[in-house]
Symmetry: C2
Subunit: 159 residues, 2 copies
DNA sequence: GCTCCCGTACTCGGATAGGAGTTGTCCGAGTGCTGATGG
DNA sequence: CCATCAGCACTCGGACAACTCCTATCCGAGTACGGGAGC
């Protein structure tokens, strides 16, 4: 099991956008240069956040991305779901109904199997933890110096 | 993000082995037939559980797999870790130190970044939930009929 | 001098290749039964 | 009739392909600025 690198990338980008706190959008090229990431692929990932309503994109020569909502209203869960998709990590394929259990009547399988229940429970704890943390929380936890460094860097490169 | 199918397979196999509760090992062929799974690949997965000390394997004509420990001492976490590996789902590649942050002194990055902290926290909740549930818990939660059906089926096929 | 218009440079957005990891298969090493053989 | 031994069927175990998904790249559609032409 492994999360996409896009999760790390987009989270850092969201943090950066939150720190800049500007009305003007930031282009993919600048964000990619900030972390030395492949621009085109980063763009593809940021599009996923746009589709999920986390970021807002503006085309054109001075276009780019900005947070679609205040950082207090953006949770880690939303970002992860935007990149990884809404599906569960554990997927029950109902193998209990195959082979030995194939001849049993369907109504015996109305209740989901205990394994699925257990895995869902754990995954729910994960999701709950992710949903409880907002972008604003992370911005507050990070050292002030990091935010200032980011702002300074973007001013230097002409943000 | 997605867990291997092996997790589902091996968990069902562990549950089956727990229900049979026999000293005699059960072969891969019988377990594979129980759930209509590819025998060779299932075997490969069960080997991972052997390496982790969850199952014990005995070679030979009447060989197979059995639980290495009582079900009370086998947690979901162990099975998942045996299949998926011990590594974290989220892997920090320290992109904060690249590009804009490349010129900063190393001691500024001694503390892990807030994103990694947040993701680790969520993953810890997941792991904790998995570790809290044992195979015995699942056996107790499942309907009694399921256990009996399994035992009956194995008697019919000559377990 | 002011306004309008066209070209250009830059942006996002989706369609198109490459590579790592998971899934699936095969064959070899080892073990215990089975049955024949000799006493 | 009993002990011995060779053959064999079946098991796990690790090495070898096929496929899926993630990673990466390219090109097209659209927008705002800048400069030039016309009034």
């Amino acid at each position: 099991m492994r999360l996409s690198e896009g999760v790390e990338w987009t989270l850092h980008c969201c943090l950066t956008l939150g720190w800049l706190d500007s009305d003007k959008p930031v282009s993919t090229a600048k964000l990619a240069a900030t972390f030395e990431l492949p621009p085109a692929y980063l763009n593809k990932r940021l599009q996923a956040l746009v589709r999920s309503g986390i970021l807002a994109s503006t085309p054109g020569v001075h276009g780019g991305f900005r947070l679609a909502r205040p950082p207090e209203k953006i949770t880690l869960m939303e970002v992860v779901a935007a990149i990884e998709g809404p599906e569960n990590a554990f997927r029950c394929t109902e193998i209990r109904q195959r082979g030995a259990g194939a001849e049993r009547p369907a109504h015996e399988y109305k209740r989901q199997c205990v394994i699925t229940t257990a895995m869902r429970k754990a995954e729910l704890a994960w999701r709950r933890e992710l949903a409880s943390q907002t972008l604003a929380d992370m911005m507050a936890t990070a050292p002030q110096a990091a935010a200032e460094r980011t702002r300074n860097w973007f001013e230097r490169v002409g943000g």
